[in-house]
């Protein structure tokens, strides 16, 4: 057990060094691409072609296989970012700041995807593109917070300083997002009874949620893949003046 723990600890410390991360991720990346494509294709084909049709909504409901995983990702990426932010603030690990920076656009895209697919789904089932429902509103606010983080990072020239600035912002965010969610819920119940409920459909049959679980897994793998690729780009740009980059990757050009 102790040996295992030491191994994990060493691995984390090693990953904190950009050259070692780069070497390791080069090995892992092909496998990650392979499994992501397999799981993604499996989940989507299962969900879109083989799961039963909903008796109320017909085939429209199948957008759930994109909508729900991207909404889950939008929230869990923010939690991931807050953990990275905490590590950046406390231990000043260089790579966790880069991880935070690399994760932000991905999280924003997934949140935007959830909003867009939600409104595409809302048009045929509810009759409108947008409802000021509690969940929709809090997702929109989450998107604004992502936008604030990305905007702040791009406005600071010194990138390691920008990492720490957005780590402060992501810590404030993780403290305030539960409050936003709760307060939006209260606001909804105070002003008007919700016209539509997202959970009005009868609880799903296993035939429907098994592909959904596969899709969620596929989206998580997609996030891991995009994050690794973003992070590699980030590392190589920031360390372009270091000797290990020029030795391994730039010498062939000259």
């Amino acid at each position: 057990m102790n040996k295992m723990w030491n191994y994990i600890k060493d691995w984390f410390i090693e990953m904190g060094s950009p050259p070692l991360f780069f070497k390791w991720s080069s090995k892992v990346l092909p496998w990650l691409i392979f499994t992501t494509i397999i799981i993604f294709a499996l989940g989507l084909t299962w969900g879109l072609f083989y799961s039963p049709t909903d008796y109320k909504q017909g085939d429209v409901y199948r957008i759930i296989y994109i909508h729900v995983p991207s909404a889950i990702l939008g929230q869990s990426i923010f939690m991931f970012m807050a953990v990275c932010g905490f590590i950046t603030m406390v231990w000043r690990v260089k790579i966790s700041g880069m991880l935070l920076k690399a994760a932000a656009p991905i999280g924003a895209s997934f949140t935007l995807l959830a909003l867009l697919t939600g409104s595409i789904w809302g048009k045929p089932t509810w009759g409108t593109w947008w409802v000021w429902d509690a969940r929709l509103t809090s997702t929109l606010i989450l998107f604004f917070i992502y936008a604030a983080i990305i905007g702040l990072h791009s406005s600071i020239d010194d990138k390691s300083k920008a990492d720490r600035a957005i780590s402060i912002l992501s810590i404030v965010g993780i403290a305030i997002i539960p409050i936003i969610k709760k307060s939006v819920d209260w606001w909804q119940t105070l002003h008007q009874p919700s016209t539509f409920s997202l959970t009005s459909a009868p609880s799903m049959t296993p035939d429907m949620y098994q592909p959904l679980l596969v899709c969620v897994l596929g989206f998580y793998l997609m996030f891991a893949l995009l994050l690794t690729m973003n992070l590699r780009a980030e590392v190589i740009v920031r360390e372009k003046n270091k000797s290990w980059v020029s030795k391994q990757y730039l010498s062939e050009d000259k």
Partner: protein
């Protein structure tokens, strides 16, 4: 030891209040801005009494949020530019106290005029008399929380454009906005509003230590 911190706190507070009092624009601008924003709503929408009354809590709160953030970037930027902030951070006195004193000063200088302006605007917007009390209480709590949030935004965007700090801060201000309007709106309907005020107070109680400490971190980023 104890008296030292208090002396330091009151020293900063007195200095900042003195600077603000010598420059009348710091406390007159938010007041005028608030009243202008408020007066736009009847002009743009409708002067109908019932309609304005239903709109009043939200309108007052949006105007209060915007005008409390109007001059937020000056909270640190002038001291940063002329080097006073460097001296404060070099000194042995706790920087946490410094930030808190500055936030308190900003709130006294902008939040207080907003309170007075909100009483005037409650007459303009036909807000019923019984909702005046929750409005004042919620504005006291809410504008203080906004000053705290604004301080962190101002510290993060030190030396950058003022609009950046507004974009950073505004998404985080939504709970304050919701609670504040809910408190006033439920008082209009003769419902119990104390719960909303208690939550705002709880947010403030967590916000004072938490956000002040993070603001110190954010200011320190500029000294590397």
């Amino acid at each position: 030891m104890k008296s030292n911190i208090y002396n330091w706190f009151f020293l900063i507070l007195r200095r900042d209040l003195l600077i603000a009092s010598r420059r009348s624009s710091t406390y007159i601008t938010p007041l005028i801005f608030f009243l202008i924003v408020i007066s736009f709503f009847p002009i743009a929408l409708s002067p109908d009494q019932e309609f304005l009354r239903s709109l009043a809590p939200g309108v007052i709160w949006i105007a209060a949020l915007l005008s409390s953030l109007l001059a937020i970037e000056t909270i640190f930027s002038e001291d940063f530019r002329d080097g006073t902030l460097d001296e404060f951070f070099i000194s042995n006195d706790p920087s946490f106290v410094l930030v808190f004193a500055k936030v308190l000063c900003h709130w006294l200088v902008t939040g207080f005029p907003i309170l007075i302006a909100s009483i005037i605007s409650s007459l303009i917007l036909y807000l019923p008399f019984n909702s005046l009390m929750p409005m004042i209480c919620s504005l006291i709590l809410g504008t203080f929380f906004m000053s705290l949030l604004g301080a962190i935004g101002a510290a993060l965007s030190l030396g950058k454009s003022a609009i950046l700090s507004a974009i950073i801060v505004l998404p985080f201000s939504i709970p304050t906005l919701l609670m504040g309007t809910a408190a006033v709106a439920s008082a209009i309907d003769y419902q119990d509003y104390s719960g909303f005020l208690l939550i705002m107070g709880a947010m403030l109680a967590i916000g004072i230590p938490g956000l002040c400490l993070l603001t110190v971190e954010a200011i320190l980023l500029n000294y590397e």
